[in-house]
Symmetry: C2
Subunit: 721 residues, 2 copies
Amino acid sequence: MTDAIVPLLSTSLTNKVVEKTRKLIFHQLRQENAKEAFADYVLVIDSKIPSKEKEEFKTKLANTCKLVLANLEKAGLDCELRRSKEDMIFIFVLCSAERLKQEIYRSRVHDWLTGVRIRDIEDGHDSESDILLTEGERLRLVYDVITRSIKENGAGINPGLGEFKLVNSLLPIHNKEYNQTWIKSWSMKWVIDRNDLMLLRDHFGEKIAFYFAFLQYYCLWLIAPTIAGLFTYFFLSDYSILLAIFIVVWSVIFTEFWRRKERELSIWWGVRNFSRVEQRRPEFQEEFYVVNHITGELDPYFPLWKRWLRRIIAAPVIMAFSLILAAALLFYIVLEVTISEYYTGPFREQVIYLPTILYCALVPALNIVYVKIARRLNDYENNETESYHEFSLTQKIFVANFLVGYLSIFFIGWIYIPFNAEIGEFFQSIFDALGLSLTLKPVGPERLKNELKYFILTGQGISLFVELILPYMTRGLAKGVHKTISTGSKILHRQNSLSVDARNEDEEEFLRRVRREVLLPVYDIYEDYAEMITQYGYVSLFSVVWPLTPVLALLNNWVELRSDAIKICVHTRRPVPSRADSIGPWLDNLALITWLSSITNPTFVYLYHPNSTAFTSPSAVLVTVALIWFSEHILSVLQLIIRQCLSAFPSWADELILKEEYELKKKWLEKVEIPPVAPPEHSVQEIIDNREEKGSWFWRNEKRQDINERLAEIFQGLHLD
Amino acid sequence: MTDAIVPLLSTSLTNKVVEKTRKLIFHQLRQENAKEAFADYVLVIDSKIPSKEKEEFKTKLANTCKLVLANLEKAGLDCELRRSKEDMIFIFVLCSAERLKQEIYRSRVHDWLTGVRIRDIEDGHDSESDILLTEGERLRLVYDVITRSIKENGAGINPGLGEFKLVNSLLPIHNKEYNQTWIKSWSMKWVIDRNDLMLLRDHFGEKIAFYFAFLQYYCLWLIAPTIAGLFTYFFLSDYSILLAIFIVVWSVIFTEFWRRKERELSIWWGVRNFSRVEQRRPEFQEEFYVVNHITGELDPYFPLWKRWLRRIIAAPVIMAFSLILAAALLFYIVLEVTISEYYTGPFREQVIYLPTILYCALVPALNIVYVKIARRLNDYENNETESYHEFSLTQKIFVANFLVGYLSIFFIGWIYIPFNAEIGEFFQSIFDALGLSLTLKPVGPERLKNELKYFILTGQGISLFVELILPYMTRGLAKGVHKTISTGSKILHRQNSLSVDARNEDEEEFLRRVRREVLLPVYDIYEDYAEMITQYGYVSLFSVVWPLTPVLALLNNWVELRSDAIKICVHTRRPVPSRADSIGPWLDNLALITWLSSITNPTFVYLYHPNSTAFTSPSAVLVTVALIWFSEHILSVLQLIIRQCLSAFPSWADELILKEEYELKKKWLEKVEIPPVAPPEHSVQEIIDNREEKGSWFWRNEKRQDINERLAEIFQGLHLD
């Protein structure tokens, strides 16, 4: 055991990891000289003293620490105990090369058996001399060892669960030099290429790499609608039919191409089929145990009907909240419309800002509450696998995003403007009853464009501010507050206690850095995906309303790619690398929006095109419905054709798979060794001559005959001559 | 080689094959006493003497025979040469148990590598003592040996291709006793259960078994709409909304359940994933050879653009023919309508039969021509795999079936009745111009029902006649004609020449039986599928028009199940067993019809329900379009929900797969042998005590400490006390 503590991997080396990791084996890297502290993971244990029951807490804390240390040791991991100020205890975890090698082998076998990996385990490539281990994979494997149950050779530590209530979190430490190189390289490049993505995947794992890959792919694809949008803006009429067709076709093609790209990436990154073989979530709580028909073992089980019951209970909550959100949004729109366009009464100057203030105060707050409720409800569903858990949550979050993002535009485009006269009359009657003055103005398509502009510009501005600038500000503020407190009475004592557990200055520096990282929020990939999909919605659904939408989206995404990199490096904890073979449920949402685009585009063009007669035609509703019907069906057919075409041209990735499968097959077939059946040097005549006389009446009574004789005999019967 | 000629499997044994084959190994069966002749396959060589170039033909014939015999011997197969009358030479092929064993092993390895089979080859189950070989599998393997290229250890004989132009066909010989047992058992049963299907699959292979499985499953599912139809017929109004909803929901559920059932059957029959790994069609003609990136070998290649060009060329032909067919059908309908309902001029009594005569003469003829053209075009496409070839042909055939089956009903339901007044006026003007008299009668929904009745009743009647009675008649006729000729001058000589090549009376009897079978047509599974899918269309699309449709369909199918069995046994050659993992492209057609049912049902109900105001309402078109839109979307959502629900309950088949996969995994993981990492008997304190002092500044400078001391030190910093 003792020799398992191996030389350290210094952070000064880790920028080289990125280059070398694909060529060197892991333990070679570790042999180089260590200058700075290094740990695979930090386990953070809460040690904030409660105001009462101090003694009890102390015992509990001591027991937790002991159990964690014991479990880690049992799993073959090295650990170090340190205190960070008064409220946290850090347990640093390091995995030795020997232990890791076992894990790599175990993981390779598992991947091979489940179809994630094709190449045989016994394959020569996998000998000790060239195990290709990336930093991301190392961290993933170590995380797996820490969280896996003791029965399966792990440490069984899952923060916040069961005996580990006091374990606050488990996180890897940022690799400063990688982060600097990353941000520097991306900020100096126009396009993120696949090598950049590979480096990212090697460092942060496939899940995060998929997000950036999608962002980059989407960003490149936005160039086409950007050009189309600019062309339309300068040369074509508003609500251009050409642009509408272009955008719908583009949306379908983009979605289908991404589907293919996603598959290629999953093959390239070696995570194909990964989502098919999943492990149970540690948070899953069983009701009782049942015998698994497949393995014959006792499996934790949660009745299906209960989960569905919980889902059914959740549905009205989600719907109620969606309705509240929708009502709030509609209220805002109505209020805004009323005040800005109809209201001419007293305090107009002041009152006009009321809706915006209400919106800014109400909607984000509602949204935050909604997300919290959605997460709570989702946890309550007690899903067994991570992917289903994610799927369920994504759908819940998407509903809110969808409403906040698009509802007001739909309302204005489909109800407010077409039924403007009716709505105006309604308000007139209300205002008359209230004794207020009202000026009726006809509202045109301009109103829709303004609403969209407002949403896109404020939306993107706010998101950039919240993601990049706000964290700096809040942390600056927190520091300021802290300083003010620190300058108080306990300053000397506290500074002492801060450094008391560090062996030297370097270590103190390291501990302080880790503390800073622990205090950062966890990186939330949902928010980022939701933002991108919402933006895709603006481009796909509403470009025809304002042709500059894709231009702004392109600019925003170019920045977003870099700002998200900064966010991960600076504003959040380092995420635990995890695998994924797609962008998961977001693809479905992408497809949903693409389908919706076949409804919005034709209807908006029909209603608001300068030459449209929709507002005077008596059969406008019929035309609209028929248009939607045709448009949807054309979309479906188009989708089918594109899929057929794409499947006719197999990608390099599919060929790679086939090649690997073929090699495996060849190797196996070589083992089979079918003996040659007939000596090929014998002529037909010889074979027939050698045939022995046998007793059976059909197959064996044939005399030894010359084949030519036999044929002659038969030909005679044919009367050929 | 010589000892490869093994004892024969007699046909008197083959009814026991069905029972024993799953318990005994193949060569055990062969050891029993042979009474009648037996061969795995008959190769039929054309020897009909052409009027000129006799000598050339003779050489060619001799060469073909020699080549066939040589190739068969090389592939390790036994063969016997016989002449049947003047126009055919039979080459009987028999495969020895040893040769077969090699093939079984080869096939098992291939299946395992391609994922069709899960269980490991080296598995104990596959030892010599229990190879489970069915008659169907034996014939499939032998067929494979005969047709596979010489390079791959086969005989490389593909009838009609290349050097084997004179080889007319390759067919297995009917197993009389199995056939008798089959027909007897099915005609005495109400329901065909899964054991019956298993026996069928064992004998005829999965492809034919899938047809019967579908037929049986569909037949059972028809019970629900039959009851609903009868209930509607007796208790509800015409064009019942309830029935329409029921039928659409039933269609969706049936399609989804069949999808699941299909998968279960494919697992049960051990052909899961089979369609994914396909071999090249022997008919495929390469343009040139290209290096395969995957195998590194030279592969025959046909440029993709050429295939697409050919498809594009085919498209207008298909469309033109569809249009001709449609025009012919519409012409018939218009003529029929004109004459039967409007025409009151001279010769009415005689003229009234004109449309029916024209229809009976024209449409089947057109259809036959169409199918021929479609086959020709499909061959011209030069598809590489059998499944794509089939898919392509199925779609072409489906178009014609669809038009012939449904077009006139759509025309009457959607155009003729709703726009009756306009059409009547049009005819009035024509008749007036021609000076003929015309009586205008209003046409109601009755007309639609009559058309449907006519189609269903005549369709089912004709099909039963064509499939069962016509073959008897034609063969009887042919025999009569033949007899008349035989009684002529050459009678003695010919009868001599008939028996000249048989060794004894039994053999003569056998040869005569084989000749009878060779003269039968090949079993065409397309026709049978097309018939069933068309019938499903009547039930799904038009039950609401005439509620007795499902009743008739149920009756027809009950008979069809048995009559198709008779057809295969008596009226066609024995089909070469081949594998399939689904009903293939017909499932797509099933889904297409299900989708269409969401259009026909609401529109027919809206238009023709007794309380409907469709014909007086000004917004009838709008309502219809909106209805279609909603109905389609409800269908999609319903489909999604059903799929979700079905996937929530894994079937026994999926569990079987998982279990086999798990067993394989377990076996492999046992081989991995991960050594225990940490001695679990050490206490945490011991571990920490035993830790050696190391030199690194972070991980190694820790003194040997008691864990409690260390915790105390840390707790001190927390000011817990």
